[in-house]
């Protein structure tokens, strides 16, 4: 804001900050050595990714890797659903029909103000479980065989937890969709009024105006915050462990209980989340930079 922010020479502020940082790190290391009662053992971690099965002599994936895969699967499905629901709700939010707009608004406000846990309980136990029991999802998945079984396993994880995975994913998606709604609505409303008026003057109806004129422009403003929301989704996905979906946080918890290696397990889990989220965050920044260039 004041000077050219790309300057590389070290100023007085840099020197002070470096000193503070070094002192802090040195102090923490000293205190870790003297105060923390803990025997470190990082050796057990790799075995929770892969291990050599002594019976079959083959490498098998273990809980951390399976948990990570479940988190990735759930993120992809939930993002797709959240995008669809969010777009529909955003269009409903700006609808000229008050009742439709109110309903969308109610949905957004409810989700944003309720603790996530409560939202999941209501949705999972009072709506989705009765429906999925009625449809017989769990029994259907359990009865699958051969190729069908492997396809379902690849897309949705272990068949015996299929029903939980599906409902957990939908639940997560509906939760995030409320935030997506607001992002898309803001994007649409940022496109100038003149565009709407010009399109109306050209004789386009509301739907075609949205599809052909408004959304293509809004998408530039929407995409960067949308990837940010996807990062939140990855992190929030740990709440569905409540309904037996065995994602990364859940498996991490199980390993830390079995091994009592709290720090090693949680630091590893944190690193895995960081890799997932940070790569998305880089994508987000690339997109932002590209759109900024395109705007010029």
């Amino acid at each position: 804001m004041f000077e050219n922010p790309t300057q590389r020479r070290l100023g007085w502020l840099d020197v002070v900050l470096i000193c503070v940082l070094l002192l802090g790190v040195a102090w923490i290391i000293y205190r870790v050595e003297t105060r923390l009662v803990y025997n470190w053992n990082w050796g057990m971690i790799p075995g929770y990714f892969w291990f050599l099965d002594p019976i079959t002599g083959q490498w098998r994936s273990n809980m951390l890797l399976q948990g990570l895969l479940t988190t990735i699967r759930m993120t992809i499905w939930a993002s797709i659903i959240a995008l669809i629901v969010g777009t529909l709700m955003a269009i409903a939010r700006i609808s000229p029909l008050p009742s439709v707009a109110w309903l969308a608004r109610t949905y957004v406000e409810l989700v944003r103000n309720l603790p996530p846990l409560v939202f999941i309980f209501i949705f999972f136990f009072f709506l989705s479980t009765p429906i999925s029991n009625q449809l017989g999802l769990a029994d259907w998945a359990r009865a699958l065989e051969g190729t069908q079984r492997s396809i379902v396993t690849f897309l949705f994880g272990p068949p015996n937890l299929f029903a939980n995975f599906i409902t957990g994913t939908i639940c997560l998606a509906l939760f995030e969709a409320a935030y997506v709604t607001e992002i898309i609505r803001a994007g649409i409303q940022n496109v100038g009024r003149g565009q709407w008026e010009a399109s109306t003057a050209l004789g386009l109806n509301r739907w075609r105006t949205l599809r052909l004129v408004i959304l293509p422009q809004a998408i530039r403003r929407i995409l960067p915050p949308l990837t940010g929301q996807m990062i939140s989704l990855i992190k929030d996905s740990s709440i569905v462990s409540l309904i037996s979906v065995q994602e990364l946080t859940f498996t991490g918890q199980q390993i830390s209980v079995a091994t009592r290696r709290v720090f090693e397990v949680w630091l590893t889990v944190a690193a895995l989340y960081f890799v997932l989220c940070f790569s998305l965050s880089i994508v987000s920044r690339r997109l932002e930079a590209r759109f900024r260039r395109a705007d010029r």
Binding site: Y38, Q253, V257
Partner: protein
């Protein structure tokens, strides 16, 4: 214009109405017959928590433990497969009530308060709990009564038999509950709680591992808590079946033999690393 818009609004309302109405199934549990439906399905779904050595994940990711042996034998005797559904403690009862699994076999202690909400079978286990105290915060105590005081902070796992035992026998102490046993141990090691309570023989082993931080003030165990299967209310047939299965397996020594294997012996130690 007006007509079309009203029709859209009406259509949306109609779709939502239809969706919600379709979503309401007929009450299924009113005349539930759990045993029949398990046998028909050929699979018994068992809700389990995560607590060494009751039920936990081995280093190859398999679900193992005392409960697993119990439920596997139970399913065998019924002639069905067993399917374990690992669930966090907070989700256990809602998932049971929603019909996500048939029975909870997860070291659940019987208390009257809980019994108002779910049915418990005859107890199939009675766990002994023991207290390990912090050397720094409460040295040289030799009686459990020393810990029954408002100023004492005792850590235990939320929902465990140990937490139930503390509430029953040390009602004046301040009980703080964590989600995992490793957290409970770390809490005392870090000097943030005066003592921990857990099922035997773990407190003794912890004290041996960290002799500078932990000691066992009282060798005797707490009065035992009683553990039972938890079922949805309203199915006397299922309750009768499970009760009698437990009675038979107490009489033939199966439950005791498995108990000794998991809670007294150490033959399973290589299921967890190091």
């Amino acid at each position: 214009m007006f007509h079309r818009r009203s029709m859209i609004a009406a259509a949306i309302a109609g779709v939502m109405l239809g969706g919600v109405t379709a979503a309401v199934p007929a009450p299924v549990h009113a005349q539930e017959n759990l045993i029949d439906s398990i046998v028909q399905r050929g699979v018994m779904r068992v809700g389990v928590g995560n607590f060494v050595p009751w039920v936990f994940r081995s280093k190859t990711g398999d679900i193992v433990g005392f409960e697993v042996d119990v439920a596997t034998k139970l399913a065998e005797d019924m002639g069905v497969q067993v399917e374990f559904v690992p669930t966090v403690w907070d989700g256990m009862i809602p998932a049971l009530l929603a019909g996500n699994f048939d029975v909870v076999i997860s070291g659940m202690s019987i208390t009257p308060q809980r019994n108002l909400r779910v049915n418990f079978t005859t107890p199939y286990a009675s766990s002994g709990n023991m207290l390990a105290a912090s050397v720094q915060r409460m040295p040289d105590r030799a009686s459990l009564d020393d810990f029954n005081d408002r100023s004492v902070i005792i850590a235990a796992v939320r929902g465990s038999t140990a937490a139930a035992a503390v509430q029953a026998q040390l009602p004046r102490a301040r009980l703080i509950q964590f989600d995992a046993e490793a957290d409970v141990l770390q809490e005392v090691l870090n000097g943030n709680a005066d003592a921990l309570v857990a099922s035997v023989p773990k407190p003794g082993r912890d004290a041996a591992t960290f002799p500078d931080q932990l000691y066992i003030p009282v060798r005797e165990t707490f009065r035992g808590t009683l553990e039972a299967f938890a079922l949805r209310k309203g199915d006397a047939d299922a309750l009768n079946f499970f009760n009698n299965w437990i009675l038979v397996n107490v009489a033939n020594g199966f439950l005791e033999e498995r108990w000794d294997y998991w809670f007294v012996g150490q033959d399973w130690a290589d299921l967890v690393p190091e």
